[in-house]
Structures are given as C-alpha cells and as structure tokens.
C-alpha cells in the first residue's frame, strides 16, 4: 500500500512536472485536434452538401420492369400465351434493399367497351384498360377527393378513370377532326360520366358481363400506354370474375429507388431475375462518380491534415520526452524499473493528450453552435456539430499520438546504460 502511494505520488509529480513543456504538448494536441475536427466537420458538410443538395435534388430514374422479351419464330406472328410478372417476382423486388416503392400495372384481361351519348346518339368503342395504384397517376388525381375515390373504388360503384393524354390527343386529331365531331379538352372532359361494359366487345361477348358507371377523373402521361387507367383493385376483381383460375400477372412494375447507388444495384438484381429492367443509368452513374470524387478529395485532404497535425504533436512530445530523459535516467539509477518509468511517461502523455483532445472537442462543439446560428446555407448548417464518432476519434487521436510519440525516446533510454561521466 505504501509502495503504491509513493508510486502514485511520483506519477502525479511527473504529470505536473515541467508545466511549460507539458503545456506545449497539451496545446499541440489541442490545436491539432481542433484542426482535424474542423476539417472533418467541413469535409463532411461539403460531402453532405453534394450528396444531399445536389444528388438529392436530382432523383434517380424509375425502373420500368417488364417480362423478358420473347423470341418469336418468323412464321408465328400472334402471341397466344399469357406472360407477365408474377406476384412472387413482384414481392422479391419490393423486398430488395434500396427499393422505395413498386407501382404495378395490371391489364384488365376481359373484353371491354366504353359507351357515351353525344346529342342523343349512343356511341360505343372497344377499350383496353389497365389497373394502376393511385400513386402511379397522382398527377391526374389532383385533389384528395379524387385520390380517396380511386383508393376506395369498388366494382359495384362509380369507377374513376384516368385517360392517357396521348389517347385524348389521338381522338382529337384522328377521330374528332376527320369525322366532324367536337374536340375534347382536358378541362371539359374531366368529370364526364360514361358507361363501361366489361365482358363484351365488338368481337366477343362473355357471360356475366357487367355494366358500370365511370367518370373521367383526370389525364396523365404515365405509364405511357394507350389504355384507360382504372383502380388496380377493380382491375383485379374483373380479372377474377372473367378468368377462371386467375393468377395475377402484371404487365409492368414501376420501381422507384431510394438513391442513385440503389438504382444501379436494383436494376442489376432485376435483370438477374430474368426480367427486362429499363432505365437511364447514366445520370446516376455520373452523380455517383461525382460523389466518389468529392469523397476521395475530402478523405485525401483529411489524411493530409491528420498527418501534418500528427507530426506536430509527435515532434512536441519527442522534445518534451527528451527534456525529461535525465530525470528518467536518475530514477533508473536509484531503482526505478523500466515498467514504472514507461508507465509513468505513457500515463502522463495519455492524460495530457486526453485533456487536449477533450478541450478541443468541447471548443469545437461550442464553435459549431455559434457557427450554426450564423450560417444559413441550406444543407450546410444541419451537419455542423461534433458527432459521437468524431469525438471518439479525437479522443483516440489525442491520447494515442503523444503516447506513441514518447515510445521511441523511452526505447532509446532503455537501450542505453547510465551513461559515463
């Protein structure tokens, strides 16, 4: 116990000895940790600015997933076999990492006709329809009432319909003009009711055919197909009604990903499933390349700053240790072991380093708060602050650097004798 007390006394004495030299090490650690911390925060913010404000403002493209293209024999011009994307494949895509949402397009697999009355004339036309979720046609469902109607639509009630803009244009240019019929604009057509006949067309009539009231809810460019768009639940119900043993098979899936990196990964994974995945990856690749370049530049600068700061700390520690070599030598002469001297020196510089780095972290935190209050660059102020990771790094850096820098001087002391006079 007495030995421990005396050793502790000598340890404290060593820590407090030569305050001027210790202060140099302390301030070199403090300044070095401050520089490293400031650069880390600045670098992270530049990185975040590029990623958050630039890359984030250019969202990644959507992936259009289709069944794989079929090889057709030259003499077989008609496809008779159903082909689509099954529920299992869709579920796999939904579960993929980086996928934000999947919007399916389900074809109505029954003959259909639409009927309208123009000035007392009943007019019917064969139609094709696709079932889609509200999110795919959100540009056409302008208000909440439209979206609610879409989501709650049932086969027995009024069916909301979204018309492809290309279909409206085709009618106006190809049918209304040449046949002397009135042209239709989006404004006049919205809210127009008509009849839907499901299970019959000019070519075929099925049993159990259904007549339903429909209303034009809006117009859209998505998904870019010349077919009426109806709620997907309605489409599924009709398919089950008119096709015995119906099994859901989607025409397309529109996959939205979380970021540019995911776009490339998800596209590759979908292609790996044997499906066709169409999207433009060039934008995402360029943005990822830019992100990588910025990250590499910031990392290189950080490394350089850390090395330069580390050299400064190491230099001051070596000088501080050398200035105490005679003391350590005297302690060796009077019976101090290498272990005791080494422990004392390493604890001393560890404590100085810890104090320096903790002060640096506290100063950084305080300065960050002030800076955050004055800086209002979007995307830049959010990241200002000392994260737990940065604080832990600064602590390790502040403690280990002077401790490791003291080791060569100690080793030199150990390998030499007491020195001749």
């Amino acid at each position: 116990m007495r030995l421990l007390t005396q050793r502790l006394y000598l340890l404290i004495k060593e820590v407090l000895s030569v305050p001027g030299i210790s202060a140099i090490v302390f301030f070199s650690v403090l300044c070095s940790a401050l520089v490293v911390g400031v650069f880390d925060i600045a670098g992270e913010n530049v990185n975040r600015y590029i990623v958050g404000r630039f890359a984030g403002s250019v969202p990644p493209n959507t992936i259009k997933v289709s069944p794989p293209p079929r090889r057709e024999m030259p003499f077989l011009q008609v496809e008779t076999e159903r082909r689509g994307i099954g529920e299992a494949a869709a579920a796999r895509i939904v579960a993929m990492k980086g996928v934000a949402s999947v919007e399916p397009v389900l074809p109505v697999e029954a003959p259909m006709q639409g009927g309208v009355d123009f000035f007392g004339f009943g007019y019917r036309i064969d139609l094709t329809a696709l079932g889609v979720p509200a999110s795919l046609v959100k540009d056409a469902l302008k208000d909440g009432a439209d979206r609610r109607r879409w989501n709650r639509a049932e086969t027995g009630g009024l069916i909301p319909v979204v018309v492809p803009k290309s279909a409206l244009q085709a009618y106006n240019e190809g049918m209304a003009g040449p046949n002397g019929l009135p042209r239709i604009s989006e404004r006049t057509a919205k809210g127009v009711s008509f009849r839907l006949f499901i299970g019959r067309s000019s070519l075929r009539s099925l049993n159990d055919q259904v007549e339903a009231a429909a209303v034009i809810t809006g117009f859209t460019d998505r998904p870019g197909l010349l077919a009426l768009l109806i709620p997907i639940t309605i489409a599924r119900d009709y398919n089950r009604r008119f096709r015995s043993g119906y099994r859901t098979e989607y025409l397309h899936l529109y996959v939205t990903v979380k970021d540019h990196r995911s776009l490339i990964r998800v596209r590759r994974a979908i292609a790996g499933m044997g499906l066709s995945a169409e999207t433009g990856v060039e934008l995402s690749e360029n943005i990822l390349r830019l992100q990588r370049s910025v990250s590499l530049s910031v990392a290189a600068m950080k490394t350089l700053i850390i090395i330069l700061s580390a050299v400064a700390v190491a230099f001051s520690t070596v000088i501080a240790t050398i200035s105490r070599v005679e003391y350590y030598r005297i302690v060796r002469i009077v019976g101090g072991s290498k272990l005791f001297i080494g422990f004392t020196v390493l604890v001393k510089y560890g404590l100085i380093g810890a104090a320096g780095s903790l002060c640096a972290a506290a100063l950084l935190e305080r300065a960050s708060e002030t800076a955050a209050a004055y800086l209002s660059l979007p995307g830049l102020t959010q990241g200002i602050g000392v994260s737990e990771d940065l604080a832990a790094f600064l602590f390790r850096y502040g403690v280990l650097l002077p401790v490791l820098s003291a080791v060569p001087s100690l080793a030199r002391l150990y390998t030499r004798g007491l020195g001749g006079d």
Binding site: Q6, G335, S337, L418, D421
Partner: protein
C-alpha cells in the same frame, strides 16, 4: 562478501568491429572495504559499474550482491536490487536540479515505497552527518559542487544499501572539496559498507584497501605506486 563479480564478459560492436570491454572480469568487495578501479578513459570502467548495477547485461558471468544474484534479464528484479542494495555516486552528481535537497535524498526511498516519518528522520540524520541538513529545503541547482556531491552521497545512503558505487566522485571538485568527499567515502567503511570507486584520483588510490587496473578488458591488481608511475 558484499559484491562478487565472476567471469563477466561484455563487448560492444563499434564501427562494425567487436570490442571486448570486459574480458572475464572477476572482482569481490567485502563489507567495510574500499576498492578502487583505475583505468584510462573509455577502458570500460563505467560499463563495469553498469554491469554491477544490472543496467547492462553481461554476455557471460554473474554478479552477486549481498548474497543475492543480480537478475540482469529481469528488469523488475534488477531494479529492486539496485534500489535496495546499491547506492550510486557520480562525477556529475546526477541530481534533480529543480527539486529540493530533501526530495533528492529521499527519492530512492520513494521508489522503494518508504518515505514516511522514519525514513525522513533517517534522511535528516544522514544529511546532518554530511553537513547538508541546513540546505534541505533548497533546490540542488543552487548548491556548490561539494554540496551537490554530499547530497548525492546522502541519496546513495538513504535506503541503507550495503554497496556504494562511485564513478569518478572527485573529478568535478576542487582539491579541498575532493578531500572531504574522499573522507566521507572512506568513512563509510566504518559503517560496514562496501565501496567500489572508479577513479583517476591518486588520493583515492592511497585511501583504498585494494586497487585494480582495467585495461584491454582485463582487470588486474595493482598498487598506488605503479599507477602513479604510469
């Protein structure tokens, strides 16, 4: 017997050549005996002291202090032996200049874990005998050479070691002060200490019980007259 060195060998590689500094050196010092080792600068006198103190590891041979072996290869044990069994006195005093006389004197006792009132009382007595008690609160940096060497001797004695090793203890002192230090070292014999002095000083040769000459790595018995003739 307090110190026994048996067949110790130590060589250094200097500029790529192996130089034998201690070549099967054997030496013993009894309690109450003062032995001087003479030799030219660089002949290996300090290496001999380092080997005895357990700081330099000999290639062959063994060192026994107060009946116990010096465990050169186990630093903790070697340091313990150095702390308890050996007191050092150097030409340049090797004192902590920014510490007081008292702090310097009790440093070995602190390392040993004994710096209580008993040790302090003992330190006071030693300082009184060495006539430095009045300076106990002063920093050693402000003391004269003779006073510093007395502090060094007090420090060497505070743990009451049986062996005192002195490396050129009078080289940095004027004649009168040197004589006083020689008197003190010589007087330690009466207290049963074994004193081994490495020196060029003829006065020490004359006061020593035995004299050895170290040359070419070999230690040979000699006398003051022969050394004076050299």
């Amino acid at each position: 017997m307090i110190l026994a060195i048996e067949q110790c060998t130590k060589s250094f590689r200097i500029a790529g050549k192996k130089r034998m500094v201690l070549d099967s050196v054997s030496l013993s010092v009894d309690a109450g005996e003062m032995v001087a080792v003479a030799g030219r600068s660089g002949c290996g006198k300090t290496t001999l002291l380092n080997v005895i103190a357990g700081i330099v590891v000999p290639e062959t041979g063994r060192v026994t202090i107060n009946g116990g072996p010096m465990r050169h290869r186990i630093d903790l044990l070697a340091s313990r032996t150095r702390n308890r069994e050996i007191g050092f006195v150097f030409q340049t005093f090797r004192l902590l200049g920014d510490e007081t006389v008292m702090a310097n004197v009790i440093l070995p006792a602190r390392i040993r874990g004994r710096a209580g009132s008993k040790t302090r009382k003992s330190a006071h007595e030693i300082m009184g005998k060495l006539k430095i008690y009045a300076y106990r609160g002063m920093k050693t940096a402000v003391l004269s050479g003779g006073q510093k060497q007395r502090v060094a001797i007090a420090r060497a004695l505070v743990n009451d070691p049986p062996l005192i090793l002195a490396d050129e203890p009078t080289a940095n002192l004027d004649r009168d002060t040197g004589n006083e230090i020689i008197e003190i070292l010589s007087g330690l014999r009466k207290e049963g200490k074994a004193v081994l002095v490495v020196t060029h000083d003829e006065r020490i040769y004359r006061r020593s019980d035995r004299i050895y000459s170290l040359a070419g790595g070999s230690l040979a018995a000699t006398d003051a007259a022969a050394l004076s003739a050299d």
